[in-house]
């Protein structure tokens, strides 16, 4: 069962070996760093830049070439840890990276993907996957040309009918299935398949966000046959990806094996991947230090823990934190008085010390931001952000004045939230106490806390939101528009809806950015939510892992087709 993963060689930690490995690792890292600078060569295909949707891209296979100083090495099993079992096997029905990493990214290909070498996951980083090129003959049509001869794991050949069946499944899932991201494809009017390698997507309106969504691992393409026979891709996981499901023992491990017939010649380098389900963070950290994983992520993987891993592993690991789309906002229920008064929401923003929040809650692994990912393609500048009350420095005097002006003398606030958000909730409670808001925290699990927010049964709530990609449509449709799935504050503004609709159809990136920033500023002015900080995603990587970069999203760059293990 476990014989092939090679962990036996690592299960006994030898300090001497670790130190020796660390020294070699440093040398390897230097070579890797050198190599990463010039590894932009693509394996095949040439870009076709047509229309606004293809600012770059169109190259089949985004795998990077091996660094010149070090030849890629075949073989080995890449081990990772998951905190729990995937909630389901079909990622189209799931909303967690725990499903995406083992069951979507390595097993399926999308039409397009984010370039694994470019961690920002920006629009211009979109590159080919199953589609060798894509073009927009007009504003409301996108034509994808598929790579010919791509084989599914069951031997079937991928055709445009498979793409059509999968995308239609997402838009209109069969009875008994859920499709949490159907809204991302809402602009699609119909899908046509003039021939086996051409997919024509007809849009109801221009939709520049379409490619951003399609590039995330959530939009893997399964086979039409499988969808027809099983109603979903879940049970069998017949994809076209570089790895196939070999074994899955619930609560124990997931094992993937190399797909020898993968459509990218010479890939993957790895023989397989293995994911171990380890809930307890302390035990997982010990296992990491002991060398049982090659890659590691955990939201509470603090800088001090990262230092500990680097030190106690004898330098076998490097650790970093990557800016992300994950943000920690405070919702304020405008259905209830006095939160319907923008001055009260503004006062709450002024009471929150963002720097302290980042320092206390994230040990420094965070950054200030509004709605779009700070430093990303769309966000307003930091200087502009600081113009909004509270986003520069807290101002308790002004906050109290605003409350007074709103007629609030003393205020008790009920804060239901998730148990795992406790540190953030406690910090907000302390900070709001300084302006006379007495918060009572009600901690519970997701299944209990979230319905309270959805049903408007709260005053304020400290929460965490993660998005697949840093995309304006995804962001504002999540928390800002009147119909946003998480507009739990219920601050509805027709002007916001109008600006949202406007930016959503602008195909020129620069022009759209202006509209997005106008929208972000308006949303910030309304204090729909008060964002305390954006999280940085903390990772660790064994220095033996080559050709892998952590991205700003947990839902991209996890296919591992071009990753190899050195040493």
């Amino acid at each position: 069962m476990h014989e092939e993963d090679g962990y036996q060689t690592r299960r006994a930690i030898s300090r001497r070996r670790a130190l020796r490995g660390g020294a070699l690792g440093v040398a390897g890292l230097a070579a890797f760093a050198l190599a990463c600078g010039n590894d932009d060569k693509k394996e095949q295909g040439a870009a076709t830049t047509t229309g606004a949707a293809t600012a770059t891209g169109g190259q089949a296979g985004a795998a990077t070439a091996a660094p010149s100083a070090e030849q890629p090495k075949y073989g080995g099993i890449l081990n990772q840890r998951l905190p729990n079992d995937p909630d389901r096997m079909d990622a189209h029905q799931s909303t967690t990276y725990v499903t995406v990493w083992p069951f979507a990214a390595p097993i399926f290909n999308q039409l397009v993907q984010f370039d694994p070498d470019k961690p920002g996951d920006k629009f211009e980083d979109i590159t080919a996957d199953l589609a060798t090129k894509w073009e927009q003959p007009d504003g409301q049509t996108v034509r994808f040309t598929l790579k010919p001869g791509v084989k599914f794991h069951d031997g079937g050949i991928l055709t445009s009918e498979d793409v059509k069946a999968q995308l239609e499944w997402i838009i209109t899932p069969p009875q008994g299935k859920v499709s949490p991201r159907r809204q991302a494809l809402a602009a699609i009017d119909k899908i046509e398949t003039p021939d086996a390698t051409t997919v024509l997507i007809k849009l109801k309106r221009p939709n520049p966000s379409l490619l951003m969504n399609l590039a995330s691992h959530y939009f893997g393409i399964g086979s039409a046959k499988d969808l027809k026979e099983n109603g979903e891709i879940g049970p069998k996981l017949i994809g076209t990806g570089p790895f196939k499901l070999k074994a899955y023992e619930r609560g124990n491990f997931i094992e993937l094996a190399k797909n020898p017939e993968y459509h990218m010649q010479g890939r993957p380098y790895l023989d397989g991947m293995k994911f171990f389900m380890v809930r307890d963070y302390t035990s997982a950290l010990t296992n990491l230090i002991g060398g049982q994983y090659h890659l590691f992520y955990e939201s509470v993987f603090t800088p001090s823990d990262q230092e500990r891993v680097k030190k106690e592993s004898g330098g076998k690991f490097e650790a970093e934190a990557v800016p992300s789309t994950l943000r920690s906002p405070v919702f304020m229920n405008a259905r209830r008085k006095p939160y319907d008064d923008v001055r009260v929401r503004q006062a709450i923003s002024l009471a929150i010390d963002r720097d302290a929040a980042i320092k206390v809650v994230k040990e420094g692994f965070g950054r200030r931001g509004g709605y779009m990912q700070p430093g990303g393609a769309w966000a307003i500048s930091e200087a502009d952000l600081k113009k909004f009350d509270g986003y520069d420095k807290p101002d308790l005097t002004k906050a109290k004045q605003l409350l007074q002006a709103a007629g609030v003398t003393s205020l008790k606030a009920a804060m239901p939230t998730r148990t795992d958000f406790k540190p953030f909730a406690e910090l907000i409670k302390d900070q709001l106490a300084k302006i006379g808001i007495d918060v009572t925290i009600d901690l519970s699990d997701t299944a209990t806390a979230q319905p309270k927010l959805q049903n408007g049964d709260f005053d304020v709530s400290a929460w965490l939101i993660g998005l697949n990609v840093d995309d304006p449509d995804a962001t504002f449709a999540e928390v800002s528009t009147s119909n946003a799935v998480r507009n739990w504050s219920a601050v509805k503004d027709p002007k916001i809806d109008e600006l949202y609709d406007k930016q959503s159809v602008i195909t020129d990136t620069a022009e759209r950015k202006k509209a997005v920033q106008e929208l972000e500023k308006l949303a910030l002015e309304r204090f729909q939510i008060v964002t305390a900080f954006f999280d940085d995603l903390p990772f660790a990587r064994a220095k033996t892992v080559r050709n892998f970069k952590f991205h700003s999203s947990l839902y991209t760059s996890r296919r591992m087709e071009s990753v190899w293990l050195a040493g």
């Binding site: 069962m1 476990h2 299960r11 030898s14 859920v178 879940g234 609560g251 299944a447 209990t448």
Partner: protein, 347 residues
């Protein structure tokens, strides 16, 4: 003259022998009646448990549909409502109960609301892991607790007794989670450069790896269980050692070992056996913390996750399973009483 309550203090199998003795025919019938009565009692017990767990799970706040949709990230309330409908959570409670109970009668626990997986399959995969841990821990605890409990009583208030009591009280006082975390994640890695291999290997597939993965949780859990059992063994032994028939045994000039083992320990065993069975039931119900710290894919972790996610059928299935295990264990212990102590059988 005082006499031992054991007319013929013979070996344990005497009780069994009596069951097939023709002269005991009338008593045998009584025993049979007793066994049948106990077995029949299982039915209302299980029905009662099923009703209680079903109602309690529905009374808990929270929504499985939200949990099943990954906390509802990016999911509208309409989608959640539709999903609830698909899961049958909008059906009247009696209908939901009837459907579930019907499945139980067919020994079909149904499917997880969260994952759609067969609960029978999940239990089949996970129960052996917990059973290995629980049985290992209980056996080890008995191996530790019986001699230490007996010795502690025999050498009451002497150095050996103090040492054993210290050993047992430490096991009672220290939090098991703390010790497990400390030993697994600090002491062994730091001072012995050792951590258990990842995952869980089934013993029949890879015995040595299984041994490497299981010895530590079994040892720690066994020690903590032994602390409870050892304390009870000591106290019951002390009581028994003060009985008149033990004094008589000493007065008859019996050898110490015979008095302690054959007369005293045998009688002191009954409550210890009961406690061990209860402890085994508790562990089989899920040593959730141990399974979490050692990343063992057992029943404990499964049920904790299911409770957090309001995965009703999974929680209900495991509670029913544990209830059945308890009932059967208690029945087995009651029957064993008759084997160990003929007085019980005669009564």
């Amino acid at each position: 003259m005082l006499s031992s309550p054991h007319p013929r203090a013979g070996p344990f199998p005497r009780g069994l022998a009596a069951l097939s003795n023709g002269k005991d025919k009338e008593r045998l019938t009584a025993v049979q009646r007793y066994v049948i009565g106990r077995v029949l009692l299982i039915v209302p017990t299980i029905i009662g448990v099923s009703l209680i767990v079903f109602v309690i799970m529905r009374m808990l706040p929270g929504d499985v549909a939200v949990a099943a949709l990954g906390g509802g990230q990016g999911v509208s309330q309409e989608q959640i409502a539709r999903y609830r409908e698909q899961l049958g959570l909008d059906d009247p409670l009696p209908v939901q109960y009837a459907e579930w109970a019907g499945g139980l009668l067919r020994l079909d626990f149904g499917r997880s609301l969260l994952t759609g997986q067969s609960i029978n399959e999940d239990i089949t995969n996970r129960l052996p892991v917990t059973a290995e841990l629980a049985l290992g821990a209980i056996l080890l605890s008995l191996v530790i607790a019986l001699p230490t409990g007996i010795l502690s009583a025999v050498y009451q208030d002497r150095p050996a007794d103090y040492l054993i009591r210290l050993f047992s009280i430490a096991g009672l006082a220290l939090p098991v989670f703390w010790i497990q975390t400390l030993v697994r994640n600090l002491l062994l890695p730091k001072y012995f450069d050792w951590i258990p291999p990842p995952g869980y290997a089934r013993p029949w597939e890879d015995f040595l790896t299984n041994l490497e993965q299981m010895w530590l949780p079994v040892l720690i859990l066994g020690y903590f269980q032994s602390a409870v059992i050892s304390r009870l063994a000591r106290s019951t032994m002390l009581d028994v050692l003060r009985e008149d028939y033990i004094r008589t045994a000493w007065a008859k000039g019996l050898r110490g070992r015979a008095v302690i083992i054959r007369h005293a320990a045998r009688n002191a065993l009954l409550p210890v056996l009961t406690l061990a069975a209860v402890q085994l039931g508790v562990l089989l119900g899920g040593a959730a913390i141990t399974e979490s710290v050692f990343a063992l894919p057992g029943i404990g972790r499964f049920v904790v996750d299911a409770i957090n996610n309001r995965d009703y059928p999974v929680v209900q299935a495991i509670v029913m399973l544990v209830a059945a295990i308890y009932v059967l264990l208690n029945l087995a212990v009651d029957l064993l009483y008759g084997v160990i102590d003929p007085r019980v059988r005669l009564a």
